[in-house]
Amino acid sequence: MAGVREQDQYMPIANVIRIMRRILPAHAKISDDAKETIQECVSEYISFITAEANERCQREQRKTVTAEDVLWAMEKLGFDNYAHPLSLYLHRYRKTEGEPASARRASASASPSMQMHPRTHPHSHPPNYSHHGFGMFDFDPSSQGFYRDDASSSGSGGFVASFDPYANIKRDPL
């Protein structure tokens, strides 16, 4: 892209903090260093995997980065332990929530507190984030079990899981 804005480099720190707080007890506190470290780690992880997926799309002369591309990139980069639960999650998600994209958007608009800041990735063209992508993460019990392992990996897995369902919606116009 021509100009990369500052707020596009990192994930919104409020959302990162919210995800960190989900597995901590109510009285726990998070230092500013920890917040910023996780923010940078999560942002770099997303860019790392998306760049690999985008490279495959460019090789095959495609413009849309799909969920399969993301899973393929994770396996190629050695994140096999992440790719396997995510493929199960994606399969189950498509079985239950596959076709009605507009209905999901209508139902998701009823909860504005779940909104995430829409943003565009600087080096490739993945689908934009939206509120229902984040909400879908709560539906899958295996992701919840996967979520309990530790803070940083669950944070990364959470964002990647929220990334996949929207790619399915993106494929409808094709």
């Binding site: 409020a14 790392f48 980069l77 050695g78 800041h117």
Partner: protein, 346 residues
């Protein structure tokens, strides 16, 4: 329509590759010998050694003839693996189970789009046994450099379970702490990410100098607002209370002030420059405020706070892939600090 045709063409190649996979299993000894050669070689001869044995995928048609001779010996294996493949049809397994799951799909030749997508997702894993199968015959042929790299990574992931631990690579780029060893699978990606970050830093410097604010309209509105002594805005609710309060009351005061004014970004930046303590309190109260615009503002505020508070602090313990690019992280902080200096004039 064209995409469906492309997927169908890819599906037609699945059956021969699966049969080659069965043939590959009998030559496990050759593969193991290659692993020994691979582990003993150094970095530079390692690439050349693999290059001499690379074979183009077009040779797969010719390889069918040796398989025909071995057909009677493989019938038992086909019967045994076909039974286990049906059990794993819905689950994406690992290792040989993944390889043999494709075989029944090839026989069925179904037109279901869902199964086609599943088959396409397994296409990359099928490439690994194909590369391994080619190496067993060790035919010297050259091919394009880029597909060769892709085959190599696929090949290496296939060998990973047989080697104790991962093979690490020394980075070619110069780093302050000396050579850093990373996962061989991620080496190429890390180099690409470093170049992307360097390019982003250059773009960031250009855009940062032009615009010290996020939104043009808010900037114009803030410039038109009347200011009092010290540069503070007039006509705000918290101007009477002042800055003497501490603790939770400061939480509510700052939150209320942010919600009431239209130029939230400029107000927040100015108050942050005035008192660092107020900035920390604001970061603490972030879960209470919702909305994408406020979230975006807090993201920027967090970065500025980090720059002001930790310019002289020690280097943080980042993850492995960020640790490799630690030299790249410092310039954005300095640029952010320069941005703060510029904001003081506003």
């Amino acid at each position: 329509m064209l995409l469906l045709l492309l997927q169908f063409l890819q599906l037609s190649f699945i059956l021969p590759m699966a049969m080659q996979t069965v043939y590959l299993k009998k030559h496990e000894g050759n593969a193991h010998n290659f692993v020994g050669t691979l582990s003993s070689a150094a970095s530079a001869p390692w690439w050349s050694a693999f290059g001499s044995q690379s074979v183009h995928q077009g040779e797969s048609c010719g390889q069918m003839k040796p398989f025909a001779l071995e057909l009677p010996n493989c019938i038992d294996q086909l019967a045994a693996t076909k039974l286990s493949a049906r059990g794993a049809e819905q689950v994406l397994g690992e290792g040989h189970t993944t390889q043999f799951t494709i075989f029944p799909d090839g026989c069925k030749m179904s037109d279901d789009a869902q199964k086609l997508q599943t088959t396409i997702s397994l296409q990359s894993s099928l490439t690994d046994p194909h590369s391994r199968f080619e190496i067993g015959f060790s035919q010297p042929m050259l091919c394009a450099k880029y597909p060769y790299t892709d085959q190599f990574y696929g090949l290496f992931s296939a060998y990973a379970p047989q080697i104790s631990g991962r093979i690490m690579l020394p980075l070619n780029m110069s780093s302050d702490d000396g050579p850093i060893y990373v996962n061989a699978k991620q080496y190429h990606g890390i180099i690409r990410r470093r170049q992307s970050r360097a390019k982003a830093v250059l773009d960031h410097k250009l855009t940062k100098r032009c615009k010290p604010y996020m939104h043009e309209s808010r900037h114009l509105h803030a410039m038109r607002r009347p200011r009092g002594s010290g540069g503070r805005f007039l006509n705000t609710r918290s101007s009477i209370n002042g800055n003497g309060k501490l603790g939770n009351e400061v939480h509510k005061t700052v939150g209320e002030q942010l919600q009431s004014s239209d130029s939230q970004s400029s107000e927040f930046l100015q108050s942050e420059v005035g008192t660092l303590n107020s900035s920390k309190e604001t970061n603490g109260s972030s879960p209470n405020i919702s909305g994408s615009e406020v979230t975006s503002m807090y993201s920027r505020g967090g970065l500025d706070s980090f720059s002001l508070n930790h310019l002289g602090s020690a280097v943080h313990s980042f993850a492995n892939m960020i640790d490799g690019g630690r030299g790249m992280i410092i310039p954005p902080k300095w640029v952010a600090a320069a941005g703060n200096c510029y904001n003081l004039k506003v």
